[in-house]
Symmetry: C2
Subunit: 123 residues, 2 copies
């Protein structure tokens, strides 16, 4: 399964590779269909689901309950959601201390930090 290289897959990989932050399925469809012509939403969902299972993509979850997808091939980072323009931007944050001060016995495998506010352009 999931072996062939198609126009649709290549377009989605391109789009995610050049994104400034995580993208929703609709955003991916909009940008990728500029590159590959026809691209249905169902196909976007199938491709990103495969990518997420394979560990090539990371899923991101914000307050609108819409899943966003992001190339895993990046340094560890976090997200900033501008409440004006609603763009999501990758940011670097120190997070080494997060595991401290947990109740005894908890094992942390990963984490998500999201900041909300105004980006430089909207402020």
């Amino acid at each position: 399964m999931a072996k062939r290289s198609t126009r649709q897959k290549r377009a989605i990989e391109q789009v995610l590779h050049h994104a400034r932050g995580p993208l929703s399925a609709r955003q991916i469809q909009a940008k990728a269909s500029e590159l590959c012509g026809s691209l249905s939403l169902a196909t976007v969902y199938r491709i990103v689901a495969t990518g997420a299972e394979a560990g090539d993509l990371v899923t991101v979850h914000l307050e609108d309950n819409v899943t966003r997808y992001e190339d895993k091939n990046r340094k560890h980072h976090h997200h900033f959601l501008c409440e004006d323009c609603e763009e999501v931007i990758d940011i670097q944050l120190p997070c080494e201390t997060l595991a401290h001060r947990l109740p005894e016995g908890y094992a942390v495998t990963r984490h998500e930090i999201t900041l909300y506010g105004r980006c430089a352009e909207c402020a």
Copy 2:
């Protein structure tokens, strides 16, 4: 609007007041209907929407894209989602340094930190 005290509202307030972490609409319905008899999901959504607008409730967003609700009347805290039992638990974490190292000009109004892993019981 939103002025009367009803069985349903009191039950939901009770449930959220005693919760160990944020609850989904379904969870609220299940627990609150034990207290007040009949309680439709639509009513749960209307009551928590009103509470969130009034600032009495905080909404929480995790990877299943299901909104959870929580009494605002608590110290600032974060969330831990156990990947085994899928319970969400409130935790305290140091977060004063989060505003540092942001790109110039960004204004942060609030943030969400979620840890994923195994809780003490499931580990």
